[in-house]
């Protein structure tokens, strides 16, 4: 269930990147945010912060611990490709 939720969050984030609702205007509620950052740029900067947050969620709740275990359990010299 946790993994499904995370997949939904990632897909939602991908869709949110296509912010067609701010396509033709630099304004948010009639003004340029902070007087100098057009809303299209401000939104995408906030999107980058959201990406970092989602990555943190993935690391916290979907970290592939079984891979770490497999590496630890195996003798690294064994079955080497060289």
């Amino acid at each position: 269930m946790k993994r499904i939720l995370l997949v939904i969050v990632v897909v939602a984030l991908y869709i949110l990147h296509q912010d067609f609702w701010f396509w033709y205007t630099p304004y948010f509620r009639g003004a340029i945010p902070f007087g100098f950052i057009p809303i299209g740029l401000f939104y995408q900067a906030c999107f980058s912060l959201a990406c970092a947050l989602v990555m943190w969620l993935l690391v916290k709740y979907a970290w592939p611990t079984q891979l770490e275990r497999e590496v630890e359990e195996r003798d690294p010299e064994e079955d080497s490709a060289h």
Binding site: P26, F36, A45, E68, P76
Partner: protein, 544 residues
């Protein structure tokens, strides 16, 4: 001259770091130590070196130049989409490749593909396609170094000499320091250019008298108001760009870097901080590129704006050569250098110039990756390591580094830069189209070597086809695209001012989708690898 002296001090510093790394690794002529720093990088160096490896001259010079001519859309197109896709692929693919490398000793992606799909020569073909797509990066790195040193020194350092210095410095620290030297230098460079954006923003902002008035002025003029929106970019084009960052994990130098982490936990910080690092560099550069359009007292910037205006108003009636000439004049890649020259004090311009050099010199990891690939995928695979031993393999890698750097420098002196800028555009799409190889190898036990062959051949053919198409049909002037093939009123293939469109999307979209489809269809009808091989990659799945 002072900025040039600061840049020379910077170059001497990176050379010293490379030599220091050589001394640390001295006494070991092990391939794994030279090419992968003994898989021992800690979290801090791993994060900054992996990030720095992926940031080329385009991160600072190209981003501001693109924003100068296209507006705020640059950030959403190239930066925030990368902030989602690249860390996601590092999380999903990078960690798995690291674990397999640790378990089975892989040092290159091709070694993994050969083992996973039980193939030999198909792996060699993948190596060739990867190498051909990677070489333009090395050439453009040297070109960028020559151009930047020439500009920073006010023309005192000629282009050929600047390029030679950059080539020598990069070659030396990669030659001596191998992966350890490259990673340390990349870490130092990344810290430098992470600082660059914030400092440049403050200095130029103060110099311009604040950004509020500049933004208001841009908005109030019909000639520039569009730069603050995305009205001139189609949503399909914007969407297409989200496929480009798939190339990052398919680049051999990025994947090889993933093998250098000491522990898998090292990936955690990289995955979380990657979007923030991208934002820290791209946001100031894109913003400054847009704001440069309000700088009235720099003649070079005025000339660029004039060239852009003429191109937009009279471009349709011009000969293609005249249009290309105007495009070159309107290009904004040096706009950030011009802003620094105008607003930053001498000593600071030098430090910021060093930050730009740090980004320009990102070709080190590509050179090392090519050397690693050659010695492992060709020299060792075809018996060289068995016959001559590991020490000779490392020496072969070093000789290869010298040869590839000299070759890149010779080409950089003779060929026009635009050719390689185009080649890099194709390379992004090409590596993105190769990404299904990794996904199939790691996540689908039904994939086969024949599917991998189909993906590789398709990628090579598609890149060649797009290159020939764009070379044969010159780009139209800004405005509607030239339609070459339509079906029932729908545009199928058209030539746009910035490239090619297929159903309104950039070529990378059909390239990736067809790659994925070929992998699925061909794999379904061809025999799978042996169960014992599949068990290595899918230990918990039923592979009988």
């Amino acid at each position: 001259m002072i900025p040039a002296i600061v840049v020379f001090i910077y170059l001497a510093t990176v050379l010293y770091i490379g030599i220091f790394a050589f001394r640390k690794g001295k006494g070991t002529e092990k391939a794994e130590d030279y090419f992968l720093a003994s898989r021992s990088l800690g979290p801090f160096v791993f994060l900054f070196s992996l990030f720095g490896t992926n940031m080329t001259a385009f991160a600072i010079l190209g981003s501001s130049g693109h924003a100068f001519n296209n507006g705020i859309v640059t950030f959403g197109l190239m930066a925030s989409s990368s902030g989602l896709v690249i860390p996601l692929t590092i999380f999903l693919i990078g960690t798995r490749v690291w674990a397999l490398g640790k378990k089975y000793g892989f040092m290159t992606p091709v070694q993994m593909f050969r083992d996973r799909w039980e193939c030999g020569h198909i792996g060699t073909l993948i190596f060739i396609v990867q190498a051909v797509l990677l070489v333009p990066y090395i050439i453009i790195g040297i070109m960028g170094g020559g151009t930047t040193l020439h500009a920073i020194s006010g023309g005192l350092v000629p282009y050929w000499f600047g390029g030679a210095i950059v080539a020598m410095v990069v070659m030396s620290y990669v030659f001596f320091g191998g992966m350890r030297g490259t990673a340390w230098v990349n870490t130092f460079q990344t810290i430098l250019f992470l600082c660059f954006g914030a400092v440049a923003l403050v200095v130029i902002g103060v110099g311009m008298g604040g950004f509020r008035s500049a933004a208001q002025a841009l908005q109030s003029s019909p000639a520039s108001a569009w730069l603050l929106t995305r009205e001139r970019i189609s949503p399909r084009y914007f969407f297409s760009y989200t496929f480009i960052p798939l190339s990052a994990i398919a680049f051999p130098h990025i994947l090889i870097f993933c093998l250098t982490a000491r522990k898998m936990a090292q990936f955690k910080k990289t995955v979380i901080f990657y979007p923030l690092c991208i934002m820290a560099i791209w946001l100031p550069c894109v913003f400054l590129g847009v704001m440069a359009n309000r700088v009235a007292d720099v003649p070079e910037i005025r000339a660029k704006q004039e060239a852009r205006r003429v191109l937009a108003t009279q471009g349709r009636t011009m000969a293609p050569e005249a249009r290309d000439d105007l495009r070159e004049k309107a290009a904004g890649d040096d706009v950030i250098l011009l802003l620094l020259k105008r607003y930053a004090p001498f000593w600071l311009a030098g430090l910021l110039g060093a930050g730009i050099m740090a980004a320009v010199m990102a070709s080190d990891s590509q050179i090392l990756a090519l050397s690693t690939m050659f010695t492992e995928d060709v020299f060792a695979f075809y018996g060289g390591k068995r016959r001559f031993g590991e020490a000779v393999q490392v020496q072969t890698g070093r000789i290869f580094i010298v040869i590839i750097t000299l070759f890149a420098y010779a080409v950089a002196l003779r060929a026009p830069e635009t050719i390689f800028e185009l080649a890099i555009q194709y390379a992004f799409s090409g590596f993105a189209a190769l990404s299904p190889l990794l996904i199939a190898a790691l996540f689908w036990k039904g994939s086969t070597k024949w599917g991998a062959l189909a993906v590789t051949v398709w990628t090579a053919l598609a890149v060649i086809a797009v290159a020939i198409f764009q070379h044969s049909f010159p780009a139209p002037a800004p405005g509607p695209p030239t339609i070459f093939w339509s079906l029932g009123g729908t545009e199928v293939v058209s030539r746009t001012p910035g490239g090619t469109a297929v159903f309104g999307f950039m070529p990378v979209v059909p390239m990736v989708l067809v790659s994925a489809l070929l992998m699925i269809v061909i794999s379904k009808i061809t025999p799978k690898p042996k169960g014992t091989t599949l068990a290595k990659y899918f230990p918990t799945a039923d592979v009988t």
